[in-house]
Assembly symmetry: C2
């Protein structure tokens, strides 16, 4: 498997674009994006479990119910959620996109991200869609910019892999930043592949993958109303279609996982206000459930996050987060260490503090990618969760998000 | 019922003291406190549900198992948690206190609060206990100062009430600030009363009360390892002992609730870095469980907390938090309003935004006590939760807590 360039346009038959149409006031920021497959693609999606759901999710669910899609239209700057006319606007976005591309509105996936509860004006979108059509090309990056909200970094990735001797490609873009605590679904992620795979297995691959990837990310504990991951597979690579859980399916899963893990790390590292990526690796758990719960509890702890911001090896907060994770853990068997490019340092053995060099710990924690290593000494299950530190800028960004 | 002065010394037979003994470096801060009842008292307690428990909790549980106690010794600056010799040190604290007071070590309640995982030196405590004894008197305030960590305000309250025509008193002190997300128990709260009540009913009153009070407080979602509420009732008011759930018990519950609600509000308002007290009132819920879950979900939402800091009426975040509360709520029936001394403003009706004056909203949200009013339109259950805003200072305080 090789990392390649091109993002969502890396796989055969996909083009993309992103422009500023006027939803955002800042003209230098793209606010609408389009991804198009020249051939109708099998499609799968997962959505937020928040009871409050963005109108675009309702429309997308309906459109994708036949397992197929050909285009994705997504705006930023407004979530089109909790609006009385939300569904109407989301449907109109699909209709406008379909007319422009000469496809069916039922084959358009629609997504929106931004502030909740403010009506989304269709006028700038009406103007934007023809611009998007005109710009369609190898423009994954422009599309990735178009879906960003408070993200500071663009998030895209692609890999090539082989299925039955045929080269396939898969690529994705994502937006993250705030209101990130996916639960059985995730933030906005769009993935394209030219691999031929049935829509059933595509959904199976996605639903399985997110349990260990996007569902293990948290920026702030707030599960968004508009989370969505969509994968399109147009089959243009020419491999024999994957229709069962064989070796080819495993190869596809591996490629998909490379894309999703990369995007998880990007989303966590670029969490609102974040200065550090936190990766919590729990090993020695009695079962998968425990490993996941413990890892996620640590990554969500405001106190642990603030300590990491301060490069403070305050491991007691890690123990505290393990203790309230509501799992069957023997806290007297827990070991904790911190790791980064500068080395690794053990700070807690069997539930009690051990002597360690504060100086060395500081040096390790001043890096911008920190691993929190936890061993539960209770079995063989393991899990990884991704998060970020809690900083002044998180407060700043969210203290006046709407103004 | 009347609010009176005196805190934990208001009720008959109780004295208290607080001094600096050297656990903290800052000599101007008290770091150890003592509460003493001249008569052995019935006692009840509730503790954190965190699996990682401070050593003092283990010792206190043992000592209080007979339903009685006569003194409370509590230090700040070190939680005596995750230390190999923690139990030994906690027992020593009881022994030293008992010797000084001429009582049994088994009648001493011990508590500690501060950093986790650093050995607690017994030497300063050895020196401090005789000082505490010497200062015993009407010094509730000094004791309240002695248990503070990052608290900025001292928290004490007392009320008088009548049981069968006899005047009884009840008072309490508390420490809060960070690592506050009590779960079936709470932070450090010490309550004294001269009301005669059996230890069974005292425990029943406390266990019932905290479900609607301390368990509905959150500062940062981190359930502490050392949470504890202790009530002592020495019977010196002279009322007929309460031994059943009659009208007298109801009167006692009401007095207790006045103390606990007051302390909840103090703890939330003085959350680490807080500039605002948030009080979320949920009404119209289908049941108590739903009302509580929804209220607590809102009060815990980092995004809602940051919006309140910025006086931003970003009610979409309130809806979002309701949606992920994992309750059976019809989000299309939800109304939201914000209220303070400056008035009340409706911002969401039946799950959708309504037009409102941003100017008026700002004026309301700039106050330092904000009510978030949520109506679910689904029944008659209601609940209140208390929290605070998320500020730069929360990050500052916790970025370098140990240094």
């Amino acid at each position: 498997m090789n990392i390649i360039s091109g993002g969502v346009c890396a796989a055969k038959g996909y083009t993309a674009s992103g422009v500023h149409c006027g939803i955002r006031k800042n003209k230098s920021k793209n606010d609408i994006a389009l991804i198009f497959s020249e051939k109708k693609a099998n499609a799968a999606a997962v959505y937020t479990t928040n009871l409050v759901k963005g109108a675009p999710l309702t429309v997308t669910k309906k459109h994708i119910s036949d397992g197929q899609a050909q285009a994705i239209i997504c705006n930023s700057g407004n979530a089109n959620t909790c609006n009385a006319n939300g569904i109407e606007v989301a449907e109109k976005m699909c209709e406008l996109t379909a007319n422009e591309l000469g496809i069916n509105a039922e084959d358009v996936v629609v997504a929106s991200t931004g502030v909740i509860g403010q009506p989304l004006d269709i006028e700038p979108i009406k103007a934007g869609i023809p611009m998007l059509k005109a710009q369609l090309g190898n423009n994954s990056l422009q599309a990735a910019y178009g879906i960003m909200t408070t993200d500071t970094k663009v998030k895209e990735i692609a890999v090539s892999f082989e299925i039955g001797g045929v080269e396939c490609k898969i690529g994705g873009i994502a937006k993250g930043s705030g209101m990130i605590h996916p639960d059985m679904a995730t933030m906005l992620v769009f993935i394209t592949t030219d691999c031929a795979i049935s829509s059933n297995l595509l959904q199976k691959a996605l639903s399985s993958d997110i349990k260990d990837t996007f569902n293990m990310v948290s920026v702030d504990g707030d599960t968004s109303t508009n989370d969505m991951v969509v994968v399109m597979a147009n089959g243009m690579a020419g491999n024999k279609e994957i229709t069962e859980e064989n070796d080819d399916f495993a190869s596809f899963m591996k490629a998909l996982n490379t894309i999703t893990v990369y995007l998880c790390r990007c989303i966590a590292a670029d969490g609102e206000g974040a200065t550090k990526l936190l990766e919590c690796k729990v090993t020695g758990a009695k079962d998968d459930f425990t490993a996941k719960k413990v890892a996620k509890s640590i990554i969500c702890s405001s106190l642990t996050k603030a300590a990491m911001f301060g490069a403070d090896a305050n491991w007691g907060r890690v123990l505290c987060a393990i203790g309230y994770a509501k799992c069957d853990v023997d806290v007297n068997k827990v070991d904790v260490a911190f790791k980064s490019n500068k080395g690794v340092i053990e700070v807690c053995k069997e539930g009690s503090g051990i002597e360690f060099s504060e100086e060395k710990a500081k040096e390790i924690l001043l890096e911008n990618e920190i691993e929190i290593l936890v061993t539960l000494g209770d079995g063989n299950a393991s899990s990884t969760a991704w998060g970020c530190d809690l900083t002044y800028d998180y407060v700043k960004i969210n203290g006046d998000y709407r103004t």
